[in-house]
Symmetry: C2
């Protein structure tokens, strides 16, 4: 491609006319939920080098369409139930396309006032849905829950910890907290022992009495508690920690209470919002719209009850920014680079704004409710099923089960869960994987997709029961 | 919109057929480089609330097309020369569209092996272009230079600083370092006095002798130097710090040497790569492909000379990840969540891979060279021009000038630069703003866009000279 055409947008419509139907064809529900590269494809990709001369865009788009993007764990497939799935509405994708063409500099207020107005409105709306005061609250988008959780750690440290107390600082979380919590602490320079593990009850929820006990013990030993991390919708089981009781303890000791609601905060827009009771009393909430609010990657948020704290931790200053700094700006008109880690970011929140506008909040609510209802239906299919145990009841859209034939050793039973998941993955009909609860491997289903049907769930369980029966009859299959 | 259609991708082609031409029409060069909302548009946007019932997507897309995305500082307009512009190739946009439809979970190797192979190849290619050993090097994409710089601070701290030395730590940078450097230090809990300012020479480059002197003085005073931050292409003037001499000092004291090349690292792919001499000896480099490598927001990188250090700082672990952890994975097969801050991220590097494949590296080189040549041409237009002084010669694609009529006070001369930029902005023909050098306001041009023509530059200067002459004749215009 010559230098003259590198910036010529005129060919784009023709390329899209050709490839868009090919790409959209992959979105149909009869396509596999998971596919992997074969050896030939893998080698072809590895051997593609960069050359002085360019190649025909059609040639490269063919490779992308046939190999790269077709051979995925499709995280937005209706029958994907691994990790926390990302059901995506095309409404989100349309705005991404618009963003990719206009490329607004979204972190600068004056540089892109329209997106700033609408993104701010959306963030305040989310804050209101959590029960925060929309006018007092603040927040910003991030690339994901890890970045949002990490940002909350920075706020908590700046509000509740002096630099000289750094080595004595203590953070409180359960072993059900997301991996990004321990990572956030490490990234900020805390040592592993600076996280005090709080015990969980039989439902894998934080035990407030144990939290209080451990804070007291740490204080007695000269440590400096500053941050409690609770979860609304744990990754393993979907439970919500008892937020109101935890907020009481936060008040008693004047700490920061952050809630990782990456997965579960969306319940605030569902008919099941009461399970988040107490979230309005917390200090900050992580909320991933690319998990359970139907957005493409990335679209995550940190929502903060007291928005004016953001500037203290995140402001930037430089000579070349003075030209667009407005000393009289209200909080709503603040430049994004002054209230979050990032200075450059895509206009991530526009797609959520558009989805809410076009879908309407009633449809959003129904789409969320469907996930709660799917998982209850799935649990029913496992109830009283011989050789199967429900290890963790439905919470949010998550269920954990375990195949436990009588007389099998723990080791063999653990291996059976992995075997059953692997066998299923080979079919590509649905995607689900294992996790561990109380040291046992279990099969975990996370089923938020609004297009997941009862018939899908029936077929998934019938297949699984059949494979379980086969395995019971011939346990050596595990080791073949 | 009903719940049934929220996930129906069939309407997307029709919507795109209607709106794509409208959007692409805004990309033409005769459109203004900068536009702002008027009061009516602003109020309309502020009054759009979220409703239970959804609206017609056409209605909302009309608002987006006519107000939100048309009224921008167009950062990829050929005549945008404010901040560091982002010339964008449609090749980048096409891949963003593909990403937005397929939504690959790019941080998981097994979840999206194809994108991982190609993204890794691209990052290693960038590392090679810097002179790092492609096999030893590592790196990852980020949302921008701020995140990449910040990530480098984490690596440097983990490699070169013990927790008990935290309060005594010292970081070295000049006052020409990007605002994200001071911010990165603050985000990690360092106090402002933990950055030791290194002096610059007449060209605004770091003075190695002063760096060495200050490190020695800090050590004598019991402080712990651990990180030097140099810049390749400063935001203000585009200069490159003397990297080789700085690397000698890094060696002498066993520190981490990070280079913020957000803007200037792209010179490595141009004919002017020798200006980066010594960059191959540094420890890490920030490189924004959404600045001067023709990519949409966001596409930035941290490239690290010794890739195996990444795992130590950034690894994650959780039960639900075990199902996709591969103990035998090579570094190239590592999950992204183990080698960067983020656990979720878009497949940001695919668009750069595609651009390189289709454009070819020769065309990329020519497109970069154009920026170097444009700014030399622009400087010529200011040479020996009465009342105008070139404050900083062309470096990368950046030039700083100052309008200095004889006998004007500093205050009035400063105000004149702002006035001249504001008057230009009103025309929408080109975008440029002020910065400050040695305490003086100056007019700064950053001109990397490959479609910026000599005729554009001539018109821009003719207009500016005319406005300067008018102002000289009637200085009260500044205060009107």
């Amino acid at each position: 491609m010559s230098f003259d055409t590198l910036f010529n947008w005129n060919d784009m419509p023709d390329l899209l006319e050709k490839y868009l139907p090919i790409w959209l064809n992959e979105k149909t529900v009869d396509k596999p939920s998971v596919a992997n590269l074969n050896n030939e494809e893998r080698e072809r990709l590895k051997n593609l080098s960069f050359q002085d001369q360019g190649k025909d865009p059609n040639e490269i788009l063919d490779i992308m369409s046939n190999d790269v993007y077709k051979k995925l764990w499709k995280i937005d497939h209706p029958r994907n139930m691994a990790f926390v799935p990302s059901p995506v509405s095309p409404l989100s994708s349309i705005v991404e396309i618009c963003n990719s063409i206009f490329n607004p500099y979204a972190a600068g207020y004056e540089n892109s006032e329209g997106t700033n107005i609408l993104e701010n409105k959306t963030i305040r709306f989310l804050a209101g849905a959590l029960g925060y005061d929309e006018e007092q609250a603040g927040g910003f988008s991030t690339s994901g829950g890890s970045m949002a959780n990490f940002s909350a750690f920075i706020l908590a440290r700046d509000q509740k910890l002096k630099q000289e107390d750094f080595a004595k600082a203590r953070i409180y979380a359960t072993d059900q907290a997301h991996s990004s919590i321990a990572k956030a602490a490490r990234l900020l320079g805390f040592l592993p022992q600076q996280i005090t593990k709080v015990d969980t009850d039989d439902d894998f929820k934080m035990i407030p009495a144990d939290l209080r006990h451990k804070i007291l013990a740490d204080k007695e030993n000269g440590f400096c508690p500053f941050l409690i991390v609770a979860t609304a919708g744990t990754t393993n089981t979907g439970v919500v920690d008892p937020l109101s009781e935890i907020a009481d303890i936060r008040d008693e000791f004047n700490l920061w209470l952050h809630v990782d609601g990456a997965y579960g905060a969306s319940a605030a827009l569902s008919s099941y919002r009461s399970i988040l009771s107490g979230i309005e009393r917390t200090d900050s909430v992580t909320w991933d719209a690319h998990k359970w609010l139907f957005q493409t990657l990335s679209c995550s948020f940190l929502i903060v009850r007291d928005g004016k704290l953001l500037h203290n931790s995140f402001h930037s200053s430089a000579e070349y920014l003075e030209a667009v700094e407005d000393d009289n700006a209200t909080f709503a008109e603040t430049n994004g680079w002054d209230i979050s880690i990032e200075m450059t970011r895509p206009a991530r929140t526009m797609k959520l704004w558009f989805t809410f506008q076009v879908a309407g909040m009633e449809t959003i609510q129904k789409a969320l409710d469907h996930g709660f209802e799917s998982i209850v239906y799935l649990a029913k299919l496992f109830e009283n099923k011989k050789d199967w145990r429900i290890v963790s009841e439905p919470h949010m859209s998550t269920l954990n089960v375990r195949f436990e034939p009588e007389g099998w050793s723990k080791e063999m039973t653990d291996a059976a869960q992995v075997y059953l998941c692997d066998e299923n993955l080979k079919t590509g009909f649905a995607t689900y994987i294992t996790t561990k609860l109380l040291g046992d491997k279990v099969i975990r289903f996370c089923a938020p997709h609004p297009d997941l049907t009862k018939a899908d769930l029936e077929k998934i369980t019938i297949d699984l029961f059949e494979r379980g029966a086969e395995l019971k009859a011939n346990p050596d299959l595990i080791y073949d």
